[in-house]
């Protein structure tokens, strides 16, 4: 009990414990010196290397965004502007816990977030939503997040998650104008005016160097100041645009009520003297705000879906269709050029038989002897069939030398068969084929049709249809290179092979209205920034037609709304005060309901605006499209002196 401690035996050299403690002490000393040596080496020999790395790590060059320019109507009202939105971005790779927390806080689905996290080009990436930005940067997974959710996510302080403010396109006006304005993708204009004037609208992104400071903050030094984008002043008139959009929608609804499919349509309101577009609408359309959040695959599929009318298509410049009777105004000009008497009398029988083929009037109506002007306003097909036939014969008939016919030449002069040069990307050209084109096409298609002539159409279910197709193939194989009378006659009434866009018809009717100037349609007027640049859209040229001929056509078309095909649509409209010149059209498209056309301008005595309306599978021109034009004119009458 008292002997608690034994005295230490000191046997020096033989003392195992002491020897081993000395070994331990030596070991401690050696390790300590090794660590000290490493520290000294790092802080002397390696110091410069690490200072260089540190400078690189502690310095960050960041982009300073430039504000995208507004797109405004001609009175300065904003059509496309900017608003601040919140975006949630994460540093990749991100752990499941963080994703789960984001799902919880945002109400978004896990699939939606992970789809945005995939990197485009890597295996398994989700097309459409995958990340295509700079590598190594936080990837935006939630865009346009409502403020309360954005704040909640920020306060949650999730690792690797940043909440930042980003500008997104905003459409504060009552107009839709989705197609003409266009949309952005990854901050770049991808369609419409946004694409056409992208460089000016986008401005110049600035650059700043962030260097960390000793207090843990950072100094930001602007290396290059951002230059905000320019404002695009357009020729559009917000109120007119709203009226045109609403009227088109109403017309489509009415046509559908009347049993038509009315799959799409367009309205163009254009200044006949300058080609300045005041309003341009395309149906069906879509909500431009959907691009702000990043499009899902389903949304994109909907935008390009055939059965939904492909809302992404900008019909005024991208839909091709036969011009139908609206083309007769040009046939009239061509007939005058070809020497036919504008003041003569022409027979309007119910049908015309040429080469054993019968060409009928609409509903086989007959008007007897009429003037050309009357033939235009009542839209007598047989008069124009005959003109087409006679011009074809004059050109040599089947043995013609291949030079372009007068009708084709006139149509091309008026701007058909080519692009108009409008300042909106994606315009299609259309075609007004002449003999040479017919032959060229035949060269291409002959083998195919001749094979069909031999082998028939065994895959066709209906034997009658198979027989018809085979006989057509046989005809084409034998004589498809011939420009037949029927071709010329169909061309004369705007059927057959001629295909136009609504905007081309606007240009052609503007030329009739303004006395022969082929204008360049345009929407951009000025780019306004430090300096203002007027966007010139010089006319493409003049037509050869005699101004008096054009005046003759204008007078004839003025009657259309008074006692011609459009008199019903314009009943009660103050035509004395504001005469409207118009031509209706009902285009036949194989296998589809007819396309409704309405080409017009007003006031007829001193034309200011051309208004072109068409509705696909919408029935008669006057009945379906006429009211749209009328609604636009009522609005214009209210606002123009």
């Amino acid at each position: 009990m008292t002997q608690t401690v034994t005295p230490v035996r000191d046997t020096s050299g033989a003392d195992v414990a002491r020897r081993r403690l000395r070994v331990l002490s030596a070991l401690i000393l050696v390790v300590g010196l090794t660590i000290a040596a490493r520290l000294v080496w790092l802080q002397t020999a390696q110091a410069d290397t690490y200072r260089a790395i540190a400078q690189q790590v502690q310095t960050d060059v960041v982009a300073v965004p430039a504000a995208r320019g507004d797109i405004v109507d001609r009175t300065g009202q904003i059509l496309a502007g900017n608003r601040t939105s919140y975006e949630v971005a994460v540093e990749s790779p991100v752990d499941d816990q963080t994703v789960a927390a984001l799902v919880d806080l945002s109400g978004s689905s896990k699939a939606a977030i992970t789809a945005r996290l995939s990197i485009c080009g890597e295996p398994g990436a989700t097309p459409g939503t995958c990340y295509r930005g700079e590598p190594g940067r936080p990837i935006p997974v939630l865009t346009d997040v409502p403020i309360p959710q954005a704040l909640a996510i920020r306060d949650a302080d999730l690792p690797g998650v940043v909440v930042r403010q980003v500008p997104v396109r905003d459409y504060p006006s009552k107009a839709n104008a989705a197609h003409v304005l266009g949309y952005l993708g990854d901050g770049q204009g991808r369609s419409g005016l946004e694409a056409e004037y992208d460089e000016a609208l986008r401005g110049q992104q600035g650059e700043a160097k962030q260097v960390l400071t000793r207090d843990g903050g950072a100094t930001e030094e602007m290396v290059a100041a951002p230059q905000d984008g320019q404002r695009l002043l357009t020729t559009l008139d917000l109120d007119t645009q709203v009226v045109a959009e609403r009227a088109l929608r109403d017309a489509v609804d009415a046509a559908r009520d009347a049993g038509y499919r009315a799959t799409g349509g367009s309205v163009i309101v254009m200044d006949v003297r300058t080609g300045a577009i005041r309003a341009v609408a395309s149906y069906p359309t879509y909500d431009p705000n959907i691009w702000a959040q990043g499009l899902t695959d389903a949304q994109y599929a909907e935008l390009t879906d055939e059965s939904g009318g492909r809302p992404l298509v900008f019909r005024p410049i991208q839909a091709l269709m036969p011009p139908a009777s609206t083309f007769k105004s040009l046939t009239t000009v061509a007939a005058d050029e070809a020497g036919f008497d504008l003041d003569g009398t022409y027979q309007c029988p119910s049908a015309l038989v040429v080469g054993g083929q019968t060409f009928r009037n609409y509903e086989s109506r007959a008007y007897g002897p009429v003037s050309l002007a009357q033939a235009l306003s009542v839209s007598c097909d047989t008069v124009f069939y005959r003109l087409g036939y006679q011009m074809w014969k004059r050109d040599g008939g089947l043995a013609g030398d291949g030079a372009a016919e007068q009708v084709v030449r006139t149509a091309r002069e008026f701007g058909l068969g080519g692009t108009t040069g409008v300042d909106i990307p994606g315009e299609v050209a259309g075609s007004v084929p002449d003999r040479a084109d017919v032959i060229a096409e035949y060269e291409q298609r002959r083998d195919d049709f001749c094979r069909r002539a031999r082998e028939g159409y065994p895959e066709e279910k209906s034997p009658a249809r198979a027989r018809l197709l085979t006989s057509y193939a046989r005809d084409y194989c034998r004589s498809g290179d011939q420009y037949k009378a029927g071709d010329a006659m169909n061309t004369a009434i705007g059927q057959g092979r001629t295909l136009v866009t609504p905007l081309q018809m606007a240009v052609a009717y503007a030329a009739i209205a303004n006395g022969g100037t082929v204008v360049t349609p345009h929407v951009g007027a000025e780019l306004q920034g430090d300096t203002t640049v007027r966007l010139a859209a010089p006319p493409k040229g003049r037509v050869d037609a005699d101004p008096e001929t054009l005046a003759y056509v204008r007078a004839a078309l003025t009657d259309t709304t008074v006692d011609g095909t459009a008199s019903g649509a314009f009943a009660g409209f103050p035509l004395e005060e504001y005469p409207v010149a118009a031509k209706t059209g009902t285009a036949e498209v194989a296998g589809k309901q007819s396309t409704s056309w309405f080409a017009s301008f007003a006031p007829a005595d001193d034309p200011r605006y051309v208004v072109i309306v068409n509705v696909d599978q919408g029935g008669l021109g006057a009945a379906t499209s006429g009211p749209v034009a009328r609604a636009v004119y009522e609005h214009l009458l209210g606002v123009t002196p």
């Binding site: 002997q3 230490v8 003392d15 002491r18 403690l21 002490s25 300590g32 802080q43 110091a47 690490y50």
Partner: protein
């Protein structure tokens, strides 16, 4: 009661404790508080909290640690035996508890118990000191009669290995490979000085290595722990992952130079580039802000502390020698591993720098070690 007898027969016992040991521990602790402040105030202030929050807590831990040191310094052998038994049992229970839902997972390791008042307890830190204490008690004899050079009783060796194995196993389950290795190294040191044959020691090291390989193959270790080792072998392999931590620490230390950038003035430290810079990677902040002068001071003071501890062991009786050896080996293994990983010399295992790193359990446990060392140094 026996004090007069003992002091008469053994005049060494009345000697004062070794002031160097205390001075070194205080120095490291003060540097630690300063560095904890430097590495945490910025973030705290940005979040609207008082900038001294962590530094004040660390000071509080130091005070608690000093109190604990004073208590163990005053305990006689029977009381120490009781403390060893209670402390070891408590540690094992604590290590079991962290594996239950009572435990909190931080940085992938389930090592913390939550206490009221915003404090947490890390049983692993205390387990180390009690394992060492237990080993020293068992390998000297029950009465303390065994001579310094007498070989240890085989059943005592077995008991020590069993007690160590239980703790190391529980640590690996968290998983906390670093603490398991440190505990093993400390006990190995005790066995070494206790005179265990070399063949057995080599066998233990080999068994430990095999256990580690086995743990890896059985999947006990988490992917991140394996990654730490592969990152050590090739730091460039994953610069954004584990290698990032070491790379940032090296940048901080490298830019410190001879003079250092000054306390609170290290750009890399204040920019919080180094993860865990107030706990496991606090030496990177020392290196950047206090430079080579500060870094060598920390290393030098730490080495002097260890050598004075070893010297105290040489002068002590068998129990004292083994206890001091255990504490020195424990703190040496932990401290050198920590410095080594900060300097890119050793793989990252996530053990704190004794006295310097922020953490209540770590600080108090180290100071219990100081109290015991001071007690031994009186002989």
């Amino acid at each position: 009661m026996s004090a007069t007898l003992t002091s008469r027969r053994l005049p060494e016992v009345t000697r004062r404790f070794d002031v160097w040991i205390l001075a070194c521990a205080v120095t490291l602790s003060v540097i630690g508080i300063a560095m904890v402040y430097s590495t945490t105030w910025g973030r705290l202030v940005r979040d609207g909290d008082p900038g001294g929050y962590f530094a004040i807590r660390q000071t509080l831990f130091l005070v608690l640690g000093a109190l604990a040191a004073w208590v163990v310094y005053r305990l006689d052998r029977p009381a120490l035996m009781a403390l060893a038994a209670v402390g070891y049992a408590g540690s094992v229970l604590g290590l079991l508890a962290v594996l239950t839902p009572l435990g909190t997972t931080i940085n992938g390791t389930r090592a913390w118990l939550t206490l009221p008042g915003g404090f947490t307890l890390q049983p692993a830190e205390f387990a180390k000191v009690f394992v060492v204490l237990l080993a020293a008690l068992w390998l000297s004899d029950r009465q303390g009669m065994r001579g310094l050079n007498d070989p240890p009783e085989p059943q005592a060796v077995l008991g020590v290995l069993a007690a160590t194995g239980v703790v190391a196993g529980l640590l690996l389950l968290q998983p906390d490979l670093g603490s398991a290795l440190v505990t093993g190294a400390a006990v190995l040191g005790v066995l070494f000085v206790a005179g265990v044959r070399r063949r057995l020691l080599v066998g233990l090291v080999v068994a430990g290595a095999l256990a580690a390989v086995g743990a890896y193959l059985l999947g006990v270790l988490d992917a991140y722990q394996v990654a730490r080792f592969t990152a050590f072998l090739d730091p460039q392999a994953d610069p954004q992952g584990v290698g990032y931590n070491v790379q940032q620490a090296l940048i901080a230390i490298g830019t410190g130079g001879v003079q250092g950038q000054g306390l609170l003035d290290g750009v890399h430290t204040q920019g919080a580039f180094v993860p865990y810079q107030y706990t496991d990677f606090i030496f990177s902040a020392v290196g950047e802000e206090l430079g080579m002068i500060g870094g060598l001071t920390v290393i030098g003071v730490f080495v002097v502390f260890l050598l004075r501890g070893a010297a105290a062991a040489t002068r002590a009786d068998r129990f004292g020698a083994l206890l001091a050896t255990g504490i020195v080996c424990w703190l040496a293994a932990q401290g050198f591993e920590n410095l080594g990983m900060n300097l890119g010399l050793l793989p990252v295992t996530g053990v704190p720098m004794p006295f310097v790193s922020y953490g209540g359990s770590s600080v108090i446990a180290a100071w219990i070690g100081v109290g015991l060392l001071l007690r031994v140094s009186r002989h």
